[in-house]
Symmetry: C2
């Protein structure tokens, strides 16, 4: 992480991937991010994968570096408290992210009465506020239909919640853009966006909506081929599998050269009366190209050709499982300055990533672990909501808020 957003304070009421990721991204750029949750934990408190202790590795991953407040939001005192935290004064405070979409006390109309220049970014399921998740948006828009082995007769969903990830990042951009506007014009605002709209817009940006309308056909499943040019996976003599790319002219000629397949590619081009320097022709002739290249890879071990591929600057990689990648790839270890090994109580010791960007004016610092639920309740009640020690004690005693340490003291 780093300190480029030093001084900014953001409050987050969230669950699952997108908005927690947004808050964490801001925290990893140095903002103070306060996530509030129900006393029993948010809807994502037990999301898989879990550590052997039963604690959620997922939750810990998406809430790194935040402050955690546990509060009973069904009580009037809890509602008042959350309102005070969200709307607390401070030039760089008054910024709220949520996907909870609570009408009434926690909506923009109400909250902005307590702080006129509030910035609030709300992520919804669809634009009407109906529930949608990554797993439903994706099939509705057709990505699983074009994913999977050639000829396979059913849709194949991503293992990666790509739309959630994108939506979370757009929440960050929206917040930073709205804060820029506030700094220049003194004006807060509400930003609403929907997960489904994020996916729908992206389809348009990638040309898929135009393709559907003007060409009228559904993109076929093409296994692991790179769409629209050449890129393919090959099994090698060692049993490993590689992905090789011939997207640009330079990548393509490098691949042909290193595999010594120039003469055969020329024969293919002549036979088909097509020019393989055209990326679209490489796509259309991908099966024929693959047949030419397959024996080359089948006869060689990755260890034999890999160094040569790197030396020539080819674009390629090896297929791995996640555990193999973690064990073998230095980019997933502390050799990569983005990662630090952290010891995390209840989770274990493993490499934890910071923000991917490296800012020259704000050097990388070690990523912070996720808080325990309610770890910062007392601190935030005092420093942000400006309650006295007596008030804080009363709220704990009434069960309106919870702090792990405080509970222990009360029980003692």
């Amino acid at each position: 992480m780093n300190r480029v957003l030093d001084g900014m304070r953001v409050v987050e009421g969230s669950a699952f991937v997108a908005v927690p990721l947004a808050g964490m991204t801001l925290a990893q750029m140095g903002a103070e991010v306060i996530r509030f949750d129900r006393i029993e934990g948010g809807l994502d408190a037990g999301r898989w994968p879990l550590a052997p202790s039963g604690q959620s590795l997922f939750w810990a991953g998406l809430n790194k570096g935040k402050k955690s407040v546990a509060v009973d939001m069904r009580s009037p005192e809890g509602k008042e408290l959350v309102t005070r935290i969200i709307t607390a004064p401070g030039r760089d405070a008054g910024q709220f992210l949520t996907n909870l979409r609570v009408r009434g006390w926690m909506d923009y109309e109400t909250l902005s009465q307590y702080r006129r220049d509030l910035i609030m970014v709300t992520l919804m399921g669809d634009r009407e506020g109906r529930p949608q998740v990554d797993y439903t948006v994706n099939p509705a828009l057709g990505i699983p239909d074009m994913t999977g082995p050639e000829g396979y007769d059913a849709p194949v969903a991503n293992a990666l919640p790509a739309w959630d990830l994108m939506a979370g990042n757009l929440v960050v951009s929206s917040l930073l853009a709205a804060e820029r506007h506030r700094l220049r014009h003194g004006e807060g605002q509400e930003v609403e966006l929907a997960l489904k709209d994020v996916a729908a817009a992206t389809l348009g940006h990638l040309g898929m909506i135009g393709d559907a309308v003007v060409n009228g056909h559904a993109r076929e499943k093409s296994g692991n081929a790179l769409y629209g040019a050449y890129g393919q996976d090959f099994t090698c003599a060692c049993g490993g599998r590689v992905m090789v790319i011939g997207l640009t002219g330079r990548q393509w000629s490098g691949l042909v050269k290193v595999t010594g397949s120039g003469a055969e590619m020329e024969k293919l081009a002549k036979r088909a009366k097509r020019d393989l320097r055209d990326e679209g022709v490489r796509w259309e002739l991908r099966h024929e190209i693959t047949e030419i290249l397959r024996p080359w890879f089948a006869a060689r071990r990755i260890a034999d050709f890999g160094p040569e591929f790197d030396k020539r600057g080819l674009t390629w990689s090896v297929f791995r499982t996640v555990p193999e990648a973690v064990a073998q790839d230095p980019d997933l270890s502390e050799a990569n300055p983005m990662f630090s090994q952290l010891d995390q109580p209840g989770l274990g010791r493993f490499p934890v990533p910071g923000f991917p960007g490296d800012f020259s004016a704000k050097p990388r610092i070690k990523p912070q672990p996720a808080p325990q639920l309610g770890q910062h309740t007392e601190e935030v009640l005092g420093d942000v909501a400006r309650l006295t020690d007596t008030e804080i004690a009363q709220l704990h005693d009434k069960g309106v808020v919870q702090s792990p340490g405080y509970t222990a003291r009360s029980a003692a």
Copy 2:
């Protein structure tokens, strides 16, 4: 799009998905974004999908609302011109995005000599600057290994360039964070990030690195199941396919209730001696749950149960192809204020998306189409690089720059 970033000027030297998407996202929030390209067009000028005219729907999709300058960067005059455009004065200018990573004249060290407070964000393949694309990063980190039908014996890649999309969004966040820092402290900076690091960090954020290290196992392929709780696809009597979600307790109980499967779920729980209110138990017993639910869906048409699912607020969707989604889903049409039908020369007429976020202080405006290559060469040379008409004419005559209109005039 909208005008929340009104006044900001960003220069972009890019190709393919991530950095073009970053620039376009800024343009769709109202920034002036100037993309420069070689006179023959960038590496992505012909990227598929194509319109029947042969023009790239992909390029048009990722460059909406930008200004285009075509310049010969091999010539000293071209280099000087690009330098002037990037480093032109203006409080909200001096911001440069690139994935071209040209050493020497176009690196941060050189450019920042012309403008001390330059902000430059560079996206690389991996952190060492080696070439990597979405199609190589993804297999290297293990996502295709966990994607695909249960028991399928090969990795299955996404059809969606999810890492590119994410990286592009992080370029936006990095730029906005660096600009915030500059506005407060007067200091520019260089930000470097790598596509592979974006993917590696995300694996960590989602708990997958922790899972690999502390649990040691590779996540199995699970078809279209929602990982870690319950969510599954079902074929219906009408031949359609739906995705239904039981991630939260509320979603799960709603699904059980509407399908009348409560008694059978109870029997299952008793037999297995597990509590289905625990999301992880639903994951572990997902095959048994699916067997209970399958006949219900197989006996019903989507049209029969869909309205009831909506009425009860269930989280579900229908599987579609992209053309089906475009034809059937109002969220992909002008019924959604994010979309406008645009007539685009050489491409056709179809719904074009703006920025997903709706900013209350800066209402949506119609998205702008992509420029023609070089469409704004004259304008930018005059207004930004501050060249005289004579200088602009000389550069055209020497072939250092190109404008579609200008060429026509010279030929006349």
